[in-house]
Amino acid sequence: MIPDVQLIKQGAEARVYLGPFCQRQAIIKERFAKAYRHPTLDKKLTSRRVIQEARCLYRCQKALIDTPTVYLVDLDQSVIYMEYIPGISVRDYLVTEPGQEAEAQHRVAVAIGKALGAMHNIDVIHGDLTTSNLLMRETSGAVVLIDFGLSYVSQLIEDKAVDLYVLERAFVSTHPNTEVMFAQILEAYGESSKASKQILKKLEDVRLRGRKRSMLG
């Protein structure tokens, strides 16, 4: 595609490159055609997700929520140019640096909870909350939300609760023995968001539904 770019990651849907954009290093996220998907379905999903990602990132930016700044959206090529966040994902932080001090983990948890609270406050549902999609800035340690391809705008308490449930499941499966940290995230979330009490209550229902689901072999 563009010269002087370096592939840094192939996620679930996109190839993520690091390359120059207007005299600075930028992230270039390209959603390439998926061979396994019917072309019609592929085009529909890809263009929908590029638009959703750009829209929700912009919505967060306006509300001063720490997310990569969008530089350019190229719908024809299904590419978004955005701010490069130097740092590591929360996943890599938890996986590669085990045995961190409880206090350091607590700080990260609070930052995550606050960020999620702020995001839900402006009715953005992330849709794919995992520890891979939370970055930590190298400089400040601030938590940055990324990867808004499955995100959408909704005021529904149910949607926000499911968003948290998705993160909880990702936490439990990826990082065994981090129940304390997740509880701290929810605590910070509860303090930072307007309707958070109701959402946390709903989260209990969603969990129960998960456990009750019949599982016939």
């Binding site: 679930a12 061979a35 396994y36 529909k44 499941r169 499966s173 990826t174 599982m215």
Partner: protein
């Protein structure tokens, strides 16, 4: 060591005998017999617990006899009896567990209760040689994206409502497709003749999926489409498969990207669908070093061998299920099992 495996958590009754020759490292595994008898309700109907349990009771003794004959062994050669403890339908599970208990008492053998999902995973690993794959487990009752970590098979993603196999089966009933050999198989065959892709709801939430939306949409419109000739039954099967399988492949890939894994193993009855296997292969081809493992109908569809295999692995670590703990459970999550046999 030889394990006898008894499976009957749904409409398939399966009996298997497997040998682990412990004189080699790793043990040499030989399948001695793998026999199955399936309960097929009439077209347009699902299988009910009562009728299914009755079917299992009617056929299990004859099937065990066949398995022993085929393996050319006698009961005294068996080291352990493994049965499905759950998840599944209560009646059918219990009817098989009762036989397992009786045989154990008669022949003086130990029992091992096995988690059905773990059975699928261990059988898939054994047959394909996949070392540490992300597992897509897709069947009539389960849809899970699983990966192993720290002694447990952890669920990364799952269906938030109905299982993918259930979605396919229920749509097969709407079209009145036969239940023999399996409703999903008949959808797969019909889908090959489909040409038009219908725009259907596509619901993915991170690594989770939801199928009730697409099912109710296609159910609600099927009659009208057929009547007007806008879409054929084949188009509907084609579109349903293309849509729900894309959701499954997408969430599997998301789990691979998240965990940093290159291998996928597909298990469970829906896993023998060739279109699903093909799509998964195309996904893997677009990932560096991507690799797909799948098995055929003998090991994908519920069977007794998988229960024998998973039970044997547990048994070799010293695990047995005491008689008073051999009850069955309809809900038994994959991540509840402590996989002592895994590194």
């Amino acid at each position: 060591m030889i394990a006898l495996g008894l499976e009957g958590s749904a409409n398939k009754l399966g009996i298997g005998l497997i040998r682990h020759d412990m004189s080699t490292t790793p043990p040499t595994v030989t399948i001695l017999s793998n026999v199955r008898h399936t309960y097929h309700p009439p077209p347009g109907e699902g299988f009910l617990p009562k009728d299914t349990a009755q079917h299992h009771r009617a056929h299990i003794l004859e099937l065990i006899r066949n398995a022993l004959d085929e393996a050319k062994i006698t009961p005294k050669d068996i080291s352990v009896i493994c049965f499905t403890k759950g998840p599944g339908m209560g009646g059918p599970l219990t009817s098989v567990a009762t036989v397992a208990r009786t045989l154990a008492l008669m022949w003086n053998k130990e029992l091992v209760g096995v988690n059905h999902c773990v059975g699928h995973i261990e059988m898939g690993r054994q047959i394909t040689g996949a070392q540490n794959p992300v597992v897509l487990y897709v069947s009539g009752g389960n849809t899970q994206v699983i990966a192993y970590a720290e002694k447990r098979y952890r669920i990364f993603g799952e269906a938030l409502d109905i299982a993918v196999g259930n979605c396919l089966d229920r749509f097969a009933r709407v079209l009145n497709l036969p239940n023999d050999p399996a409703p999903g198989y008949n959808i797969e065959q019909l889908a090959k003749k489909g040409t038009k892709l219908i725009d259907l709801p596509y619901t993915v939430k991170g690594m989770d999926v939801s199928f009730s939306g697409v099912l109710s949409y296609i159910e609600a419109n099927a009659k009208a489409w057929l009547a007007s000739g806008e879409y054929t039954a084949a188009d509907m099967c084609f579109s349903l498969q293309e849509t729900v399988f894309a959701m499954l492949v997408e969430t599997t890939e998301r789990a691979m990207a998240h965990i940093g894994s290159r291998e996928v193993l597909i298990v469970g009855g829906v896993g023998c669908n060739m279109r699903l296997q093909e799509m998964m292969g195309q996904m893997a081809e677009q990932r560096e070093g991507g690799m797909v493992y799948a098995t055929d109908e003998r090991f994908c569809i519920d069977n007794g061998i998988m229960i024998a295999q998973a039970g044997m692995l547990a048994y070799q670590t010293g695990y047995t299920t005491p008689l008073d703990k051999t009850w069955c459970t309809q809900r038994f999550r994959t991540d509840e099992v402590f996989a002592a046999w895994r590194e």
